[in-house]
Amino acid sequence: MHVVYPAVISALLFSVGVYGVLARRNAILVLMSVELMLNAVNLNLVAFDVWLRDQLHGGQVLTLFVIVIAAAEVGLGLAIVLAVFRTRRTVDVDRLRDLAEPDFPQPSPNGQAKVRESS
């Protein structure tokens, strides 16, 4: 099998992931999109490992690493999402804007507008 097929598939997968990260509002779906991107990378790694006939199989090793890290990351991410949901009753990333500069009045989950005085 020519390497271009898995490469194209992984590119498509990655693009789907990017779109998901950029456009989805649900935090869980954003997390899943991140997983998609990681798996696109994994696919690439395995494919090129075979294609290059790597003696040490670095691609495969790295893939295992990525899988482990992705699992850990999902665990942590889901825990955060869960905690956010518990306090805010929402996982809509559009409404989780506590990082914003304080000039803009932000809607908060309990309906109050928080305005911090500018420093």
Binding site: V21, V93, R97, E101, D103, Q106
Partner: protein, 628 residues
């Protein structure tokens, strides 16, 4: 000899330090008679008396030998100088040293005699004043500073004494500082003289840098280019005009009468104002070499003597009459200096120091008795204060230039010098005419003051309470002995100093002066005779107003200098707040404003950030491909 001179200078200084620091420590007894701490009296009088004794000794030492030149050189031919150390400044060094010359011995005698008289007189005058210790200490400090000026061998050391005198003058004029008016007068006196002193300092720089030394003897010996000498003497003249109350810096002196009367006598009649004349005489070879300077001095003196005499004629405050008369008489001395006769100037300075101090002390006694400075509240005091009457009559006679009082001889010497002055013709003519007219006006105002004080109906109402800012009311008939003694003693030189005949009497000129003076006196007497209760100054007619206000010079100065400076000050504060600090705060605000644009992007949406990241990566990738 130089050690003695140093001691003469230092003793009053130590007295001042002791009086300021020690006279109240641990309570100490209060003198029952004077109502002030006894220790303060000792601190005041003993050092000055010591200085006076040492001065006598110094004079005896200096009188040995033969000398030629001006009369002081033939009296006190022995000279000495010595220096303690030389201060390296990086340019011309300052030599901390003293120099005893005939002139300094002569003026030194005048200073210590007047200072001692004033210290004694003040004990009675400031009866019960709680601030007597500081007051007498300031007089001691003043005495020390004046003696430093007199004996200094270096111009910058002289300048130290010169300025310290100004400070003491400030402190003493402001002695009754409860009244804001007194405080203002004190500030005015200090600032006006300081303005002149800046010029004086620059004059010292010019001389010192040109002669490569600040020592007076070196400067007098140096061959300086004429332009330098003229510049330097003109600059020195500014300081002289400030200290000696000459036009145009004379306006502080009448206001300085807000101080206690002994201060007016000591500082503002006999000694401090004489410092300016003294310094010109001390550096006289320079002034002789600078004719333009003497022309300027002549014009200033001509304006000053007549203007001040006219102003004196229209004053109601006895002390202000004397103050304007001081300006006028100092202008005579300046005129003599301008005319080229330092002998006449110093002669008049000496006699004037005696008779003006006498007049002021008498005026103090009168004011003490009446409780007011105003002549309209006086009159008929002849019977009540016989001794004061006699002595003050001597003083006025000397002031008018009537024989046999001292003023007759010295004033004649001045006018004779002016008659033969070596000046440009216009300046000489102006000066001579002004001097003659002023003789008449002097006769007029002296007669007026004498008549209004001692003759006519009695108008005295003894005030029950002392008015702050004026003298303390004394309900006895005549002043206390501590005040009468100095008056009596001063009357002797005021009467007799003229017979020393240090300067040849020019009989023709003297006769003219006498006639003019008597003419002025006669006119005033005629006016007064017609209505003894009314002010003879009404003879001035429409000029009374301008004369009484001293030709509105104060108003003009306030409009030309004081207000613009205050206005500028407000402007500076405004500029500082809006422009200079505004720029600082503006730069801060501008930074914050710029940051507002940047943080528009930071809206808290993480996805937007990631989009930005992606766009950036793409941009770099495209750039790498295209440019690489």
């Amino acid at each position: 000899m130089i050690t003695i001179a140093a001691l003469i200078v230092l003793l009053p200084f130590l007295g001042a330090a002791g009086g300021l620091l020690l006279s109240r420590v641990g309570g100490g007894p209060i003198s029952a008679r004077a109502g002030v701490p006894t220790r303060a009296i000792w601190f005041a009088i003993l050092p000055t008396a010591g200085s006076a004794l040492l001065t006598v000794w110094l004079a005896v030492q200096a009188a040995k030998g033969d000398g030629t030149g001006a009369f002081w050189d033939s009296w006190f031919p022995a000279e000495a100088s010595g220096q303690l150390t030389v201060v390296d400044t990086g340019a011309v060094p300052i030599s901390v040293g003293l120099a005893v010359t005939g002139l300094s011995v002569l003026v030194g005698i005048l200073v210590v005699v007047v200072a001692l008289g004033v210290q004694v007189y003040s004990v009675g005058y400031l009866h019960g004043d709680s601030r007597y210790p500081s007051y007498s200490a300031f007089i001691s400090l003043f005495t020390s500073a004046m003696l430093l000026v007199v004996y200094s061998g270096d111009l910058l050391v002289l300048y130290v004494g010169w300025e310290v005198m100004g400070l003491c003058s400030y402190l003493l004029i402001g002695h009754w500082w409860e009244e804001k008016a007194n405080s203002r007068s004190a500030v005015k006196a200090f600032l006006v003289t300081r303005l002149g002193d800046v010029g004086f300092l620059f004059g010292i720089f010019t001389l010192g840098m040109a002669a490569k030394s600040f020592r007076i003897s070196d400067i007098l010996a140096a061959q300086l280019p004429t332009a330098t000498v003229v510049t330097a003497t003109l600059l020195l003249l500014a300081g002289v005009a400030g200290k000696s109350a000459q036009v145009p810096l004379h306006t502080w002196l009448p206001d300085a009468m807000a101080g206690p009367t002994p201060i007016s006598a000591l500082i503002h009649a006999a000694t401090m104002v004489a410092a300016g004349i003294f310094i010109v005489a001390r550096l006289y070879p320079l002034f002789l070499a600078a004719q333009p300077t003497r022309d300027v001095l002549a014009v200033s003196a001509a304006l000053g003597m007549l203007g001040a005499a006219l102003a004196a004629l229209a004053q109601d405050d006895l002390k202000r009459v004397l103050a304007y008369s001081t300006i006028s008489q100092l202008a005579y001395m300046a005129a003599a200096l301008a005319a080229g006769s330092d002998e006449a100037a110093i002669f008049h300075l000496t006699t004037h120091g005696a008779f003006k101090a006498l007049l002021f002390l008498c005026a103090g006694a009168v004011i003490h008795h009446v409780g007011s400075n105003l002549m309209s509240r006086m009159g008929g005091l002849r019977a009540a204060m016989p001794l004061t009457f006699v002595t003050m009559t001597i003083g006025f006679a000397a002031l008018m230039g009537l024989p046999p009082a001292s003023g007759f001889f010295s004033k004649d010497a001045v006018i004779a010098a002016v008659e033969h002055a070596r000046l440009t013709d216009a300046a000489q003519l102006l000066l001579y005419a002004s001097a003659l007219v002023t003789v008449g006006v002097t006769g007029a105002y002296a007669t007026r003051a004498w008549l209004r004080t001692f003759f006519g109906p009695t108008q005295v109402e003894a005030l029950p309470e002392p008015e702050p800012g004026t003298a303390h009311v004394f309900d006895g008939r005549e002043a206390p002995p501590s005040m009468l003694w100095p008056i009596g003693i001063l009357a002797i030189p005021a009467l007799a100093l003229g017979w020393t005949s240090v300067v040849e009497l020019d009989l023709g000129s003297a006769a003219i002066d006498l006639v003019i003076a008597l003419l002025g006196a006669g006119v005033v007497y005629a006016f007064w005779r017609s209505a003894p209760t009314r002010d003879p100054a009404r003879l001035l007619g429409p000029f009374y107003g301008p004369c009484a206000r001293a030709f509105y010079l104060d108003t003009v100065y306030a409009m030309v200098f004081v207000r613009p400076v205050l206005w500028l000050a407000q402007g500076v504060v405004h500029t500082d707040a809006t422009l200079v600090d505004g720029a600082v705060r503006g730069s801060g605000r501008a930074t914050l404003g710029l940051s507002r644009f940047v943080r528009l992007a930071q809206n808290g949406n993480a996805q937007l950030y990631v989009t930005g990241l992606l766009a950036g990566v793409l941009l770099i990738a495209v750039g790498a491909v295209v440019l690489g």
